[in-house]
Structure formats: structure tokens, C-alpha cells
Symmetry: C3
Subunit: 396 residues, 3 copies
């Protein structure tokens, strides 16, 4: 994009160099790329999210949370429409006492007045303490982070940038909440008083089961090619050991696993298997009986070309529906995720599945709120204050 010309040389570097610019002393300055989410950082954020979640159940805990960042003001700059991510960030801010402001109309008066995109952001940074942005333009959030870094170098006011979805590329906070939901599920004894009780019980049936994200088979089903949530989550999960990934999608170019992602996963040591039906077998056994986690997605028709749309309309999508019959074949503990919304016409997860204890998709939404709050705590360097509140209220 012409307006970002001054940062072109920066955006063209490899991810390693770029990630380096987004951190300071091991802490995030901005969250722009899914690849910034290494396991050490994830571990920190998960712990903070757990503390926030537990504090929120207690009246005094609530008060302490609301006080934590009450002097901060957030700008939610969402020019690409989104209800779910937007509301989730709003709620996350409100839990921490952050006051929220929003600009959602892409045709704001300033654009009519031919203000540059970077001037708009710098204006926001004059009034607000963090900018959470979602845009069609894939480089926008990244370039804003570079602008802020420049300002910081010149000892001017600078604020953190959070990428809340950029074009069809990246959606790092979605990967964050997906990973948090999986980690909570695979911490089998989160809510048990007796140590290891649920894990022990499950091992009677599944002797190889371990807690945590290592040693698992993850399945992704639906719109693999265009689901940025699939891409981001797969990258995060590829950091764990002994991971298998099944990608189940219609045999259609736009929807299939793309080669670049596949190669990256393989390089990371992931065993990658592509299939074209939920009823497929792998090594002679039904796929559904082998997986530890099922990540369903919606076919993203809004990105369809006319020809793809026609092709899809003609296609039988029933092999990609997670019906109750198919759920029955899954392991007793295997969580079902979906970034939502689900499509009530294609019906990739029928509502009959909602009452199944493995259905995690509503809890997943709520987890998004906790983990985004944890991210804000981290960016504002308030993890110590959070820990103190936790010790005072829960630890006492």
C-alpha cells in the first residue's frame, strides 16, 4: 500500500526479524503475528487468564480487577466488521476497568478529509493507551507497530498495537483463545479436588493419554484454506512435541490446506494428514476414533468468487458435518471447538451437539474474554499487580 511505503523494507523481512521488533526484554510491545506466541509466553498468558477468571467469581476479586487498569483508555478500531471479536475485547477491557472507545465505520470523517492512515493512528495514540485494530489491509497493524516504535525511539508518546484480525492473514488473539481452551481441556484435573482423578479414570480406557498439549492428534475440518484461525492455531500447536494434524476439507483448491503452511508444519516436525471426509479412515481405523481434538470451521462464503460459490453450491458438504452420530465415535474427552459463528444453513455442527459435554465452542467464546484480558494485563506490564490481587483475594 502506497501509504505504508516508508515501512516497506520492514514488512518484507522474514518473520524472525519482524517478531524481534515487537518485543522488549522478553515482553510483548505489540501483538501482530501468531508466530509471536511462543510456548513460554503462552504459559504466562494462560496463568494470568486463570487468575482473572477465578478473581471474577469473587466480589472483592472483581473490584480488584476493575481497579487494575482503570486509568487506561482503549481504542477499538474495527474497520472490518466483526461482532464477536469486538465484543470479546470490549468485555475484556471492562473486566479490567479499561474504558472503551470505538471507531467502526471505515468512512469516518477523517478519511473523507483525506487524512493518512498513519495520521489517524497517531491521533488515536494521542487520546488512548492501546489500539486494538481489525482491518482488511493486511499490513496495517504491522505498520502501525513500526510507527509506534519510531515514536518511542524519538521519545514521543507510543502505545501498544493489538492485531484483532488483519485481512485473511492473521488473527493471533483467536489462536490464543483456541489454545487456551485446548489447554484447559487437556489439564484434565483443573476442577478436581483429588489429584489426577479424571486423568486416571480416562487412562483406564485410553492408556497413552497424557495431560497437556504434547502427544496429541488435532483435527481441523471445513474451510482449511481460507480459515486464518486454522492457520494461526496450527502454527501455535506445531510448537508442541509429537503432534499429528488431520486436515479434512472438500477437494477444492480454495478450501484445501495450502502448501506453504503444510511445509512449515512438516518442518516443525508435525505429522500432517489430509483427508476429504469425516468418515475417512487412517491406518485402517476411522479417523474420528483417533483424534484428541476436533476444530470445526465455517465455509467462508463471503470470500467466494462467483465460480467458487457455484462450485460450492453444487457440492455435497455432508461429509464435513459433525453430526451426533459422528460425535459418538470420538474419544470421551476430545473437545469440539469452532471459532464461530457457525452457518445455520450448512449446519456444520447441528445444535443437537450443543448439549454434548465435549462441545466447547461456547466456553471457547468465554475463554476469549479471559485470555484477551490476560493479554492486556501483559501489554500494560500489570502481571505483578494481578498476581498480588490474586494472592490477596484467593490465596488468603
Amino acid at each position: 500500500m502506497q501509504e505504508f511505503a516508508e515501512y516497506e523494507s520492514l514488512t518484507k523481512r522474514d518473520l524472525g526479524a519482524k517478531n524481534h521488533d515487537m518485543h522488549r526484554n522478553g515482553r510483548l510491545k505489540h501483538l501482530i503475528f501468531g508466530s509471536q506466541l511462543n510456548t513460554k509466553l503462552l504459559e504466562k498468558l494462560f496463568r494470568s487468564a486463570d487468575m482473572i477468571r477465578r478473581l471474577s467469581r469473587d466480589p472483592e476479586g472483581n473490584r480488584r480487577l476493575r481497579d487494575l487498569l482503570a486509568h487506561r483508555r482503549a481504542m477499538l478500531y474495527f474497520t472490518q466488521p466483526s461482532t464477536r471479536t469486538f465484543l470479546s475485547f470490549m468485555a475484556a477491557c471492562q473486566i479490567l476497568g479499561i474504558t472503551c472507545n470505538e471507531v467502526r465505520d471505515p468512512k469516518t470523517s477523517s478519511e473523507v478529509k483525506r487524512e493518512s492512515k498513519l495520521d489517524s493512528i497517531r491521533m488515536f495514540s494521542s487520546y488512548f493507551d492501546v489500539i486494538i485494530m481489525r482491518s482488511q489491509i493486511s499490513d496495517y497493524a504491522e505498520c502501525c507497530a513500526y510507527l509506534m516504535n519510531d515514536l518511542e525511539r524519538n521519545q514521543k508518546r507510543s502505545v501498544p498495537i493489538i492485531n484483532a484480525g488483519a485481512g485473511s492473514d492473521e488473527h493471533p488473539t483467536q489462536a490464543l483463545l483456541d489454545a487456551y481452551t485446548i489447554t484447559r481441556t487437556f489439564d484434565f484435573d483443573e476442577n478436581s479436588l483429588q489429584h489426577d482423578s479424571r486423568l486416571t479414570e480416562l487412562r483406564a480406557k485410553y492408556p497413552d493419554l497424557t495431560s497437556g498439549m504434547d502427544n496429541k492428534a488435532y483435527a481441523f475440518c471445513g474451510d482449511i484454506g481460507r480459515g486464518r484461525t486454522v492457520r494461526s492455531l496450527a502454527s501455535v500447536l506445531s510448537q508442541y512435541s509429537n503432534v499429528t494434524m488431520f486436515f479434512i476439507s472438500p477437494n477444492q483448491d480454495a478450501l484445501k490446506l495450502d502448501d506453504k503452511l503444510k511445509q512449515r508444519l512438516v518442518r516443525q516436525g508435525v505429522q500432517v494428514v489430509e483427508l476429504d471426509s469425516l468418515d475417512a479412515t487412517h491406518n485402517g481405523q476411522p479417523l474420528l476414533s483417533q483424534i484428541d481434538c476436533m476444530y470445526m470451521t465455517r465455509i467462508q462464503r463471503e470470500h467466494n468468487s462467483e465460480s467458487t460459490e457455484a462450485e460450492l453450491t453444487a457440492m455435497d458438504l455432508s461429509p464435513f458435518q459433525l453430526t451426533t452420530d459422528r460425535v459418538e465415535q470420538m474419544k470421551d474427552y476430545a473437545p469440539i471447538l469452532h471459532p464461530f459463528p457457525r452457518d445455520r444453513v450448512i449446519d456444520e455442527i447441528p445444535t443437537a451437539v450443543d448439549s454434548d459435554p465435549r462441545a466447547m465452542y461456547f466456553r471457547q467464546a468465554r475463554n476469549g474474554m479471559w485470555i484477551r484480558a490476560a493479554l492486556l494485563v501483559h501489554l500494560f506490564d500489570a502481571a505483578d499487580s494481578l498476581f498480588m490481587a490474586y494472592s490477596d483475594v484467593i490465596g488468603k
Copy 2:
């Protein structure tokens, strides 16, 4: 509606059975129907509203109010446009420290992505603690309440639903604020220090006058047929003893009192009189000199068919204008209400009436804020905390 098919058998029951689903141990779980507002509940809400109103005048009282529900987050889901009800709920939430979130655009991204209406609501219930909704679809709020009841039964997260106006059917919180305004007016000595002084004074001229909502003649004027506020308020008032109701409307099918409501009121023991001019007489006396309360309404042109619109344009609407001359004929104490907005073209209440002490329509708006706050306190079961704050601050 197809999407609500699973609740069809529930929505088709009679009101008694439906109301039963909206309560728990004598307290509201949801407010969906005007008929849930029985006199015992009204009495409770009126008392809470009085306490909130008085606390809000005191700095410490304000602080206590803002603390009351500061850990709660509300979703105002208003896909049917409304400024007044929306802002009134916002203000009510803010008084109690509740943080507000809104979705007002019917074409949110999730609907574009074909999310079901119930999935949207369940998503909201993941992030927020109460859903205040206004929709064109009359069953929507009711079905959301059933969804929440199902979730509660399955020990999932569930939140209260408030119907803030559904289609042309119900607007229970408007009836609430209308009734609260009337009750405050007919509590003649609310603000007097000497007991009964104003009532005693009025009785010199009106010997039969009693305080309270019993033994009164209520007039409704204007768009009787399509005014859901008329319907809801009339239902509430019909619970009191010895009530007469005058309905003054153009002799036009869409605007007249509909038969079903008439029969219901008569069954409740109300004396119902229909008239076609504010200058009409009843029992040989001018109507205006006999009524204790005048409820004016706007002709709702936005719901007109083309033929009705043509008919109305041709019609002389002056008999339905509450001019200052007509106000002069009314009893000294008889309050004038109007749910607002008023129509500045038809001018059903000329601004010259605004300075008359009987004009209650602006105070009525403000009462809406207090009584909606009282409703939120009730739904979150915080009436005891409110009472404690009141005792501490005002009672001391």
C-alpha cells in the same frame, strides 16, 4: 419463525403458563410480558425506584449506587431503532455502575455469516450478564428467555432477558414507567412535609378523591389500536379497583381499540368507554372534566399502509389535540402523560402545554430511568444491598 421452531409449543401456550416460566420464587427471571407486572411486583419496583432516585441526589448515595452492580456488563441488543428507550436503559445501567455494550445494526457481520438468532444471543450471554433487547420479531425475546431457561436447567451459564419492545406487541418497561409516573402523581403527598396536606386541599374541590391508582378514570387518546404502550399500560391499570377507561381515537379501524383488549379489560371489571373526540361528553358531562389522568399518544404513521396513510392525511385530527383550552377543562391534579416522541406536525400536545404543572411527560422520561434501574436491581437480586445503601446514606 422457522429458527424458533423448537420453542413453538411453548410460545403457543396461554399467558398464565408462559408467565410462570419467567419467575423463580416470586422474583422475575426475565421480563418479557406486560402481564408479568402484578401489583405486588410493581409495589416492590416502585419502592426501589424511589430509593434509587433519592440516593442519586446525594454524593455518597451516588457512589453507593455506582458500586451496586459495578461487576455487571449489559448488552443492549436493539435491532429495532429506538433512541429514547435505548438511552434510558443506558442511563439506568450507568447509575448502577453496570458497563454497557450495544449492537444496534440489524446487519451485523454474524448475520451476514448466517449465524442463527439463538446462537447470537448465546454468544452475548457468554460475555454479558443481562441482555436487553428490542426487535421487530415479536417472539424473539420470549424464545431467548426459553433458551436461557434451558441452559440453566443444564447447569450452563444463563442470563436474564429484558424485553425492551417487541414488534407491535409488548413494551413492558414502558408500562412500568407510565405506571410509576401515575403512582407518583396519585401519591399526592410525596413531597409534602405535613401529612395529607395536598390531598386534603384537593378534596375540598374533589370530595371523592383518594390517593393511589384505585377509583380513577383513565383516558387514552390518539393511536389506540397500534400503541403497544396503551395496551401494556391498560393491562397494568386494569388490576386496580373501580377503574374506568376512556379510549378516544379516530373512527378508523387501525387506530381504534381492538376487540380482544376490550374484552380482556371488561373481564377484569374495567368500565370501558369509546369516544371519537376530546370534546365528547359522557353521561351528559364533558369527558375532560371527568378524567383523573390523560394518556396521549402519537399517530404511528411509520406503520401505515399506503391506504391508511391517505385516509389519515385526509382526516381532521384536531379533535385529538390536547390544546391549552382543553387542558383547562381538566381536573387540577390530573397528570398528562405521553410516551414520546410527540409529532411536531400533528402536534397532539402543543408546546404551550409544557409549562402546565399537569404536564408530566418530561418527568415521565426521567422516571423511566429510575424504574429501569429498579428493574435491573430486582433481576440481579440486589434489592437488599440497595436497601442497605439507602439506610446507610438517607436513613442515617
Copy 3:
């Protein structure tokens, strides 16, 4: 406007009489006109803004600020689009704990229902404690102030009105922030520990330099004719002694200094000079070397007629660009202001200037937040509480 007919006789009075209606005991009741901003009032507001700014850097100071007006609710009624002014007021409110509400769509449901403009405002005043409004209709805010004054006279609820931009006429809070930015710059030793150190240093090079707004040459460049910010700021600065003003604009009727303003400034004792290029000379010396302050503006194309647009497109606007070369000719201390947004096509201030220490336009935006907060403190008569907070936190 027909709807404001009852206030026509009031709006037609001269400014002196009108200003009188907006004050009470030397304090603002409403802020409608730039001419209300006399130097005594400015001084008060500047001092409050300084205190707010300093308190906001301290955690306890922040807490005290947020408590100052936490019981107040604001309505931002912005039917004329604006991002910057809107967000600045939002942030100002949030700093003081004021909860914000907004109506931005000119086609709100109430207008569809033919509610009068004054009924809308009175409705807002039922729910909220201050109305901050921006409208295309120049008299609107003024008439709202009269309505509130009427209500106050009749002992009804009344709230302050703030004009946040009315038509192409007035924008008093922009003048406020511009003047605050200039005053901070010309208080050369604001941030120095040694008394007079920076001023002394500058005097070595500029022997006549004094601190404060007197004895200065102010330049305004660009769209002089239609820039309401120029008009409002020039009026404010004309109150100071020994002031020269340069107006640099294309020789085009719509863009040039209009005669009425010129005459008013001259009457106030300002020396007025009109020029048509930033490279012009005055008294044989380059203009740029003589000025103490440069106020740049954007050519407001959105107000162009088709013929003006054609004329402007053909015109060479480079004489009105503040390039780095031109900045080099300016005095070392002379601040560069711009009300923003700047036009990235015409590029009246190239981004290369942004890193110059004289570039004040981003700080100017942030100053808008502090001074608007100071205005709110003043309107709610909370200056004493602010001072107490300041003494407790900073003075200790």
C-alpha cells in the same frame, strides 16, 4: 430555522447580549461562542488543564480525577460527522470519570417520528448531565442553551450545553485547545527546573522575546475564509497586547480572510497583514523569519462548490506548503500548529516536518483532551475539588 422561531429574537441580538445569557456569577453556564473566552476565563481553564495533566501522570492522581465527576453522565450529540473532536471529548470525560453516551446518526428514530429538535434535546437533558453537540445547523446549540435557561427559570431540570462545532461558524473548544497549546509553548520554562533558563538562552538570539501571548506575530496559512478554527482562534488572540497577524491564503474569494473578521481584529488593535505565499516578504524581510507562531490549515474541499473545486484543482498550492526548507527559516522556538486532519494529497505539512521540535500538532491534539476536561470541571463547578486533589497528590 422554523423550529427555533421562538428564539429568533434572542439569536438576532449582538454577541455582547448573547454572551451575557451564557454566564452566571462569572462562570460559564454554557459554552456556545468563541467570544465567551475572555482572558480571565482562559487563565482559569489553562490552570485547571495543567493540574489535570499533571495529576494524570500519577496513579493516585488518576484515581482522584476519575472520582471527580463520576456521578455525571454526558451526551455527545454529534450529528455532523467528526472523529477527532468526538474522541477528544470522550477521552476528556473518561479522565474525569464521566460516563459517555452518544447519538451520531442524524436519522435517529425520533426524527423519523417527527420529534422536534428541541424535544430531542430536552429528552437528552432528562437522562444526562451535560450535552456536547455538533451540528450543521449554526443556531442549534445556541437555541438549546436558551431552552435550558428557560427551564432553569421555571425551576425545571436544566443542563449545560457545549458547542463542539456548529456549521461553519464557531468551534470554541478548538480555539481553546489552540490557545492552550500556544500558551504552553510561550511559557518557555514550563518544564525547566532552573528559572528562566530557556527564555534567557533564546533571548541571546531574539532579544525582544517575552513569555506569554502578548507581543507576538501569529501567522495563519491555508483556508482562511472557511476555517472556523482560524476565526475562533484569531478572536481569542486579538485580546492580547501588541499582536500582529499574518493571513496567507490563495487569492481566491472563498479562501481569503473575510472582511467582517478583518475589521473586528483591526478594531481590537491587531495589526493585520494579508499575503499570498509563505515565501512573501514583509517590510523587506522574509515573512517566515518574523513570525512567532505558524497556524496551518487544510483546504476544506468538502465545502467546495463545483466551480471552486475546479478552480482549486487548477491552482498551484505549493506556496502554502510548509516544507522543511521553509521551516528552517522560522525562529527556533516558533510552534507549528494544525487543527488536523491534514490532507495527504495537498500535503500542507509534509510528514518530514513531524520530527521537528517545533511541530506541535500532535501535542496539540493531546492538549485538546486536557483543556476539554478543564472545561467540564469548570461547567460542573468542580474547580475547587480539582484543586484539592492537586494539593493532596502533587502538592504533598
